[in-house]
Symmetry: D2
Subunit: 282 residues, 4 copies
């Protein structure tokens, strides 16, 4: 396994990543991370060019950019545009996140988009599921054990979340639309709820956790939930809940995004590290 | 939901299916099932033509044929060729199994191949997993609880089997090749074994259950297992074990196929019924 | 079931209890609760005597007293001594907590000490276990899933906690001294650790949760744990950890007591209610 | 640990035990086992007296006797009365099963009754629970996954059985009488059924597994179960089912006793061995 790596920009998770790589014996060269105190005695590249030259693999901030123009470098005064970075990466292997088309179209760079790798998504689903349980425990005044909990969406997070909630002793209901998913749900011992018949079941849930990124809990459905229900939305923008209407009706609703970094920051950095190791593996 | 159905040919599961459909209020017309005593007072079509005319949906034997030429009709003296059947099905909806190309190419028939439906496969995976556990309990002289059990292959059966074995108290190891699968395996609390490192782990397993349909347990690997290991192969032809070599070395090996019909015949018929109902649903 | 009850003194849980009993159709007479706004329109007894006379069952604060002399009445200006209360209870049924000898020796009062009832203890163990998991999730920077967690003590809380942690995907180790407990631990799929061999296992734990009310984690043992271990002590005074020494060595230690009321206040009140209902049942 | 042991009489499990002890480095002296071929080259005591003299610990058949008079020696022509054996054991440590009063009253012998040791009972409960699941799988024509299964009695076997059945995906109902047990049952995610309300729930069960050694399923209750229910009785004499009446009504009933030796003979011998090791431990 290649034991040399250059890191350009990035947030706290990348700082933690740099430390973990060093602990594992990697020679780490940093650039645009000069304000990260924890990396003060790490090797620093003088220039972007030099930093890139030193390694076969280049890691950048994940995601690469927040505005689609500038590389994300919160620990640095360096201002680095995406084209500038890309132009120096010819013949290199780039590990980053949310890479735009310009990278995909550039056949001279071997690109790995961590955020699109299935394995990374599964690892994050674990931390997201745990984070959802933590928030539910904090916000709900009864125990999850014995509560009727609906998990909407039986993708990665839904699968792992349902398993954990069952383990805690909740009565777990899983909503899905596809028959094979409903068959799995039964096989795992959860109660299957077809989206078609969701409405009639709504009044019985103590907690609803949504993973579907479309407006499922609309006005009509929110009229049918318990008054003291806790609704947790894990779906990214625009979310699956009519938050406005929920607020007007005093329903307790929490939109929880980017949980892994918040509830398990060390695990979140490890997931990046482990995914990188699998890329490096011969 | 359409409440009328014609059934042409089929084995004991189809006989059971006919009874279940009738119990659920269906009008069932049978053909090429005249020797099934349990269906003696069911409506019978005089001719193939008439039988097909009476219903929108036609169910046949599953699979349709054993030899690729004649429809499977063990409860009948009728001899029906596949082209003969197909020629009468214009404008109809056919529910069968292992349909050949001639059906897929015939745009006048709406075909449903049960054996290719994901949902049916999941349901069968449940019965297969339970069947595997039953056989393991019967053949292994110790309890599964506390045993080291390797599940090879993390597809439908592997996933459900691992979950059940964990529930019984076994130490469950799951073999997989893909990183996302290995991440799931960890998330579910099993011990992940990458195919690459399988060899070093082999000596510790009490029971090995294989679902991979290629020769994984070859001579070399069989040399490394415990002498009193129990090897269960659930993979269809050619299986995943060198049975010849295993036998020469007095390793206990069982090749268990078509488990649902054997260990849970009623469930097996219900799976066909439930899948049909999902096809009929508007 | 008797549907009339007098309540004398008590904290927020008793206030919640009064409301729950009223919701369930009980006639509730309160005394020494005049400052509880939520009970402002509840029937109030004029005097202690009158309040007691009105019902067969009398509920007081739980525990009865904090100092062993005065009944606990945080929502009242009434000052009521234990002998004064006891003298009025002749011929009545008293439901309270931590009743002293004077009650046990008084054969004219039928006493129920909630805090000594096994059923109530089990219900509280559920909320305590969930509370411990919540705190562990909040304080530990990695996911519990995949972590090595030691549960010390296999009593009520230990049993339920181990089950929940396993359900979340942790590697669960349970410490016990008695062989039958160790056999159960194995049967449930946890890893058994005999107290005798605890020391050699200590370095591998990410989180340690103690339920043993004697000093188990002493200087010697604390020297062997991971530097970034999280130690949660659920044991009542004096606890099971040398907190002083742990602090000196920068070990993260949390002494978490009375969790049910903190993490699941509504469940905590329901447990009292359910236990009372079982007392009232014919 | 003492590494010398004398074994007098016993059945196949004792023969297996002798072999296991020898494998673990014990010096084993046998008596009244001369017909056990597998022990043909084990050291044999010439006389009872000599056999006993050679070791501090003496193991006999378990249980000691079938008729209360003669030691159980199926692998021998030796006929040995209980008083004869007892008279030679002065100053020795005896490991046996179902010892009668004469042993308890004899202060010169240190007696260990394996069958009364809690630890051994827990180990056997594991094998019994697995055996019950195996029989249920063999006899029930549907999968256990998804079935409604009632476990009657929440003692050792009931606890472990419920856990395993839940793990397989069954809907597990547990009957108990005591409130603390019912609270545990809820905490573990099973559905609690109080004995009082058993009758109204009976029609929904697909499988009933009884562990209560009194007649619970009497005529009246058997009239309320499903016609195709499977009833498994694990309770020792007189059992918990009116078998006569069940038979008259074509209910499928199986009385399964002594399961560990039947379904997991090697585990059964290991349980005796492990319990003996715990006795020998300093």
């Amino acid at each position: 396994m290649e034991k040399k790596i250059s890191i350009i920009g990035g947030d706290l998770r990348i700082v933690n990543l740099a430390k973990m790589l060093a602990e594992d014996g990697f020679e780490v060269i940093t650039y645009a991370l000069e304000k990260a105190e924890e990396l003060s005695n790490f090797a620093k590249g003088e220039t972007l060019e030099e930093t890139i030259l030193k390694s076969e693999y280049i890691v950048t901030s994940i995601p690469l950019s927040k505005d689609g123009k500038i590389v994300n470098t919160p620990y640095s005064d360096v201002k680095l545009t995406i084209p500038e970075l890309r132009n120096h990466l010819q013949g290199k292997k780039l590990i980053s996140g949310k890479l735009d088309e310009s990278f995909r179209n550039d056949s001279t760079i071997e690109c790995y988009d961590i955020l699109e790798m299935e394995e990374y998504a599964v690892l994050n689903a674990i931390a997201t599921a745990e984070g959802a349980i933590q928030i539910a425990m904090e916000e709900y005044p009864k125990t999850l054990s014995g509560s009727n909990i609906l998990v909407m969406g039986f993708g990665r997070i839904g699968k792992i979340l349902a398993k954990m909630l069952q383990g805690i002793g909740a009565n777990v209901y899983c909503e899905a639309r596809k028959e094979p998913d409903l068959a799995y749900i039964k096989a795992y011992g959860y109660k299957p709820i077809h989206l078609k018949s969701l409405d009639e079941h709504l009044p019985k849930f103590d907690i609803i956790i949504n993973n579907i990124p479309v407006l499922v809990l609309d006005e009509n459905r929110l009229n049918q939930v318990k008054k003291d229900v806790l609704i947790l939305d894990l779906a990214s923008n625009p979310g699956g809940v009519d938050f406005e209407y929920a607020k007007q009706n005093n329903l307790k609703t929490i939109w929880a995004l980017a949980l892994p970094g918040k509830v398990a920051p060390v695990s979140a950095a490890q997931y990046i590290r482990d995914t990188i190791y699998n890329i490096l593996k011969p």
